[in-house]
Amino acid sequence: MLELTGVLLLFMVMGAIIAIETRDLLASVISVTAVGFGSVIAFFYLRAPDVAVVPIVVEVLVLVILIRATLRVGLKTFIGNRAFFGYLVTTALLVVIFLAGVMVIDGLPAFGDPVVARIAEAPSKVYIERGLADTGATNIVTAVLLDYRAYDTLGEATVLFTSIVGAVAILRRKARKKPSEPEADEW
């Protein structure tokens, strides 16, 4: 199981490199969707079917939206890097951060040893033990999402609402008018 997750992650890393380095925007969009589907399979393997259901559909939507955005361009491509010196400095900085991260990330608890098994006072332990009795939901993730931490879900719904209102506002045809002009109704 662990090896499989590793292979999947390797696949995702490769997909990400292709997505960023390829010159063809359409290929790049498709590769990033492949990375997303890799994460879907990883979620299934990591025992998170609840989470896996959402990105399947979300990835499809992102794919359609991004393809829509790229198609109009006539796929004009260019090698899009910074000037050489700045590129070198940035890349070096990122590599240093990455190496530092790899050095310290061993400090994390081992993979496969979650907080429920390790920490006695973890709230997730309560959720697993008492979730059904407290909320009546047998899907503990839903119990956490919509009862114990329902306030987060309200925030999440609000984020979606915000971005939709924002996108509608950004995409409107006419943004400015004279103060005396009446409000134009769209749609």
Partner: protein
Amino acid sequence: MHYALVLMLFMIGLYGVVVKRNLIKIIISLVIMETAINVFIIMIGYRSDGMAPIMQQTMAPEVFVRTSVDPVPQALVLTAIVIGLGVTAMTVSIAMRLYERYGTYDVREIRRLRG
């Protein structure tokens, strides 16, 4: 090892955001960063040979408590995915409006974003 791979995925996304000069490539890099973090959070909650945090009628509650993976990261990732979707939708709409203005996604031809 696994965590290092996820960190690498994250850093590739960050590299793309910092270095690339195409608006679509920047959006893609942001998506990759989000994916990396989502996988990382789910990995934190994984228990070796565990089971999904969904109770089944055929299974004794004690066994469930002993083998279930952590449900909290899954709830967090659900939230994070939706937030990511919202951000992506908004970025794409801004990028489309910019394309309308300049006829290009190239940052170098768009005045302010230079540098």
